[in-house]
């Protein structure tokens, strides 16, 4: 039971990541392969606010969202004027830079050793240290992120973003400042990923740079691909499928050490097969 709860909590965290990345990729058409870096910024910011400044979890989360959001808007502002391939390569580089900063800025991040002793969330008398309560908190936050994403994509703002994806020139002709729209959606997606980061940091109680490499970004991308671009509900399905998939390996009896590599291979295979046979994902609407 506790194991199921653990999986469910992970599902919640990765579903938040999937939904937030889908906002970026599905609605702008730009392939962002640095969501692990945004995730890391949220996790580290949350961890630092909670340990060094001893702030309450929820306050640390809001501040971490702010940090991730500002950084996300900034990278969005710099990179989104670039065309598809360049944007993607720039994002991979960005992921690399962020991990490199986390490893080397030892006075702040404690280098490769990471930050430990991150407290569990609490609100006055109410503590979320117990796994069931932590899971419920994750679920509530997922619900909020999901509702926010649905609200954004169904609003007039969301329609403009989709119009930019389909034909940026046309949107410009209609007088929309397309760059500002891309910056805004980048910032929102990043702030949501920041929530996932703070949740992970608090749940594990520990963050280190190795959890946020490019492979992790590819994993989060796979969630969006499998679920379907531009379909927020699809990302929930994608997160469920990809968090549960490795568990089948456990039952198949792979040793833990090899299972991690097999898992990476399966995610790779999923990306290839979906692109070949179902580029719109399981329940996607947008043929990428």
């Amino acid at each position: 039971m506790s194991y199921l709860l653990h999986l469910a909590t992970f599902f919640g965290i990765y579903a938040i990541l999937g939904v937030s990345l889908n906002l970026l990729i599905g609605y702008t058409g730009l392939v962002w392969i640095a969501h692990a870096a945004t995730f890391a910024v949220g996790a580290y910011a949350g961890a630092l606010f909670a340990t060094k400044l001893a702030l309450n979890f929820f306050l640390a989360m809001l501040l971490a969202m702010l940090v991730a959001g500002i950084l996300g808007s900034l990278t969005g502002w710099i990179f989104s004027r670039l065309g598809g391939d360049y944007y993607m390569l720039a994002s991979v580089s960005w992921n690399y830079i962020v991990v490199s900063v986390l490893i080397n800025w030892e006075s702040l991040t404690n280098g490769p050793l990471g930050i430990s002793g991150i407290p569990k969330p609490s609100l006055g008398e109410l503590s979320f240290a117990e796994p069931t309560k932590f899971f419920l908190l994750t679920l509530v936050l997922l619900g909020i992120v999901y509702a926010a994403a649905r609200f954004i994509t169904n609003s007039s703002f969301g329609r403009v973003i989709k119009a930019i994806r389909e034909d940026e020139q046309a949107a410009k002709v209609f007088g929309y400042n397309t760059l500002m729209y891309k910056v805004a959606i980048s910032g929102m997606g990043a702030a949501m990923a920041g929530i996932a980061g703070v949740l992970l940091a608090s749940y594990i109680g520990f963050v280190d740079p190795s959890s946020f490499d490019v492979m992790e970004s590819i994993f989060i991308l796979a969630i969006v691909v499998v679920g379907g671009f531009a379909n927020i509900r699809g990302s929930l399905v994608g997160a469920l499928a990809l968090v549960l998939l490795p568990e089948l390996l456990r039952f198949a009896g792979f040793p833990a050490e090899i299972a991690a590599h097999v898992r990476l291979g399966l995610y790779g295979l999923a990306l290839i097969l979906f692109m070949l046979y179902r580029p719109q994902g399981i329940i996607g609407e947008y043929k990428f």
């Binding site: 991979v92 790779g268 692109m275 990428f288």
Partner: protein, 289 residues
């Protein structure tokens, strides 16, 4: 002391530039024909390096192992084209679909290497193999001279192939306009397969030489890919001459950068250079508007 340090940095820059040249030549060749960023290119390079690792472990001689490693990379490259990219071309998929599929191939190949050979680092040559030369105060290993020589030879052969042979003309026609090339009766699909073979062999050679220089690890592909991609963008993506310029510029910026900043920031310096180019001159040194 200062002068020797300077000479050493120049030597290191040139050697790094030569290695990046090898990887970026193949990358640009494939980009020219297919117009998408092949993220699997670095993993193909790693396959070449592990080909040599496997062959030498089986007791093959070094020259034969290198040939085997280069061929392994070439064949893996062709397989990725036949099984994934060629079907996607027939479906007229968008560029982002190609890129995401190539990321999948990258992850799959890396996991195959980790499962087969383990995730740890291996030296590809016993430590201390080969002589160390003193060139104008800089010490350069034999392997590093091989890297430089191979890069010069590969660029030369590629240049002659593209400029003076019918085959080269076909490749250039294909890179200019695939549709027109098709109309002229060129079997573009098969030609792209050949280009994948050539480009992937170049990647394999880069992977092998980098393995000789610093050892092999399944994750080595990402680093090679990024250095190659940065060189291509800085030089002007798809331009072979630009790629070479970009590769050497990157080599010099990285190595002279660590004169001012601690060496663990080397990777970040490369991507700083990339970002600067992306913002101020996204078409690169040699790129056209």
């Amino acid at each position: 002391m200062e002068r020797m340090f300077f000479a050493q940095l120049v030597a290191n820059s040139v050697i790094a530039g030569a290695l990046y040249t090898l990887i970026t030549l193949g990358f640009n060749l494939i980009y020219g024909a297919t117009k998408f960023t092949n993220m699997a290119h670095g993993a193909v390079a790693a396959m070449g390096a592990y080909g040599v690792f496997f062959a030498t472990r089986e007791g093959w001689g070094l020259p034969l192992s290198i040939v085997a490693g280069v061929l392994v990379a070439g064949i893996v490259g062709v397989i990725t084209d036949r099984l994934v990219f060629s079907p996607l071309r027939k479906k007229k998929a968008r560029a982002s679909v190609f890129v995401i599929a190539s990321l999948g191939i990258f992850a799959l190949l890396q996991s195959i290497l980790s499962i087969t050979f383990g995730a740890q680092f291996w030296p590809l040559l016993p430590p201390g193999t080969g002589r160390v030369f003193d060139i104008a105060g800089a010490s350069v290993t034999e392997v590093q001279l091989w890297i430089l020589g191979s890069a010069v030879a590969a660029s030369g052969i590629l240049f002659i192939l593209l400029k003076f042979t019918i085959f080269g003309k076909v490749i250039r026609a294909l890179s200019d306009d695939e549709e027109v090339a098709k109309m002229l009766g060129i079997n573009t699909d098969r030609m792209i397969g050949v280009i994948f073979f050539l480009g992937s062999m170049l990647a394999g050679l880069a992977g092998i030489l980098s393995g000789f220089d610093t050892g092999v690890q399944p994750t080595m592909g990402l680093f090679l890919l990024l250095e190659g991609a940065v060189s291509s963008i800085v030089g002007g993506i798809g331009s072979l001459v630009g790629g070479i310029l970009g590769a050497f510029l990157l080599g010099f910026v990285e190595n002279f950068g660590i004169w001012f900043i601690a060496s663990q920031w080397k990777g970040a310096i490369a991507f700083g250079l990339l970002t600067i180019f992306l913002i101020f001159r996204p078409r690169g040194i040699m790129g056209k508007d």
